[in-house]
Amino acid sequence: MCLAVPLELTEILDSRTAVATSGDVTLEVDVSLLRDPAPGDFVIVHAGYAIEKLDRDEAERTLSLFDELARHGDLAD
């Protein structure tokens, strides 16, 4: 029910607004739902609002975990 796309914040314009980018596409997004947004943050944007920051370390951890699972089968929790 909730389309949201990953974008990178490239500029914070004011307390509410930032410029978000993917390649050549830029759009203004509202960042008032985030704590301490900063340039370089990757965020997911829904209906023009950044609703959360994407944790890249967690992304990598998740991928490694599932690559293990896919290879081995059983994995103790």
């Binding site: 029910m1 909730c2 389309l3 796309v5 390649g23 050549d24 596409v25 759009l27 203004e28 829904h46």
Partner: protein, 339 residues
């Protein structure tokens, strides 16, 4: 539509057949479309052309009439010329019918007609005749344009969905998805998508080299409303054969893909005005691709799939991650969605 306070606007009198009608045609139409060869545009213009010929007609109303990369005038010329081109004909002549809503600004009308004139020149077609009507305010969507087009049918063309055979290759002439997004963004005044420009282009220079393939060129159609999915779906239905298409083989510009994702749209279902699909026999697929890529407009032409006997009438899409699903005929209007 703006009222007369904003500048001169079209009135009902301009369509009544009287002095103002004549003035409109003489000041707006004749200077743009009369030429040396056909100096007198009249109700019925005499001309000579030996057959076989192709005739097509189409009507255009796009809201808004101006959008990044193109406008209603350019669309009205290229759209009809492209219908001729993908039918295997060289576009030569157009008729021009205008239905104008009372109150339409003259300045907009002039811009559109300028664009129409320029597009006709680019396509090498002459506007031979036309008609102008004005409808009362509230009864029309600003401006409707009808263009009928006559082209010289290429003797080598054997184009038909019924000519398609299992094993044939499916080719797309260029990247998809731009036009529909450009219009949608302009119409809904979306800030996202504002950088995307319509791909509106004259396709005959791409179609012409393919006509040299004769009967090994089975089918061509431009991917307008409903996008590539509509064209391929129709080819499958009309041929009674199946199509296998690779999603990752279809060229899409990165920014179009990104904006489509943001708006909840799929590039394969978005209208184009400068892209067509061609189905050719497997033997000539590489040659066809090379001739498309030799033309700048076809630089990103790609083989995207093939025709099969299985699942007749249905297009099967191999998705980018290796899954399979049906690529159905798109339904309904394009609207940005959040869900």
């Amino acid at each position: 539509m703006s009222d007369a306070n904003d500048g001169r606007c079209v009135t009902l009198e301009h369509g009544s057949g009287g002095a103002l009608s004549r003035e409109l045609v003489e000041t707006l139409i004749y200077p743009r479309f009369g030429g040396e060869e056909y100096p007198e545009l009249s109700d019925a213009t005499r001309f000579s052309l030996s057959g076989p010929l192709c005739l097509t007609t189409d009507s255009y109303t796009v809201d808004p009439p101006f959008f990044p990369g193109s406008d209603l005038g350019r669309l009205a010329v290229f759209g009809t010329c492209n219908d001729l081109a993908v039918s295997g004909a060289r576009p030569r002549f157009l008729s021009l019918g205008l239905i104008i809503e009372e109150g339409f600004p003259f300045s907009d009308l002039e811009r559109i007609l300028d664009s129409l004139r320029d597009a006709a020149r680019e396509a090498g077609v002459a506007v031979l005749t036309g008609d102008t009507k004005v409808v009362p305010r509230g009864k029309g969507g600003g401006l409707y344009i009808n263009t009928s087009g006559i082209g010289e049918a290429d003797a080598r063309a054997r184009l038909s969905a019924k000519a398609i055979r299992p094993g044939d290759a499916v080719i797309v002439s260029g990247p998809v998805g731009a036009h529909g997004i450009a219009v949608l963004a302009a119409r809904e005044r979306l800030s996202v998508g504002g950088g995307i420009r319509s791909d509106c282009a004259f396709l005959y220079p791409l179609c012409r080299p393919l006509l040299e393939l004769g009967g090994e060129l089975r089918f061509m159609r431009d991917a307008t409303r409903g996008g590539l999915a509509a064209v391929l779906g129709e080819a499958a239905l009309d041929s009674g054969l199946g199509l296998e298409v690779s999603e990752s083989g279809v060229p899409v510009d990165d920014d179009v893909r990104t904006v489509a994702e943001i708006l909840g749209l799929h590039p394969l279902e978005i209208a184009n005005e400068g892209v067509f699909a061609a189905i050719v026999s497997r033997n000539v697929a590489d040659r066809a691709l090379a001739s498309l890529r030799a033309v700048p407009l076809g630089a990103r032409a790609s083989i995207v799939g093939s025709v099969v006997e299985a699942h007749p009438g249905v297009v099967a899409l191999e998705t980018a991650i290796g899954g399979r699903r049906v690529l159905g005929l798109p339904r309904g209007l394009l609207l940005p969605r959040i869900c």
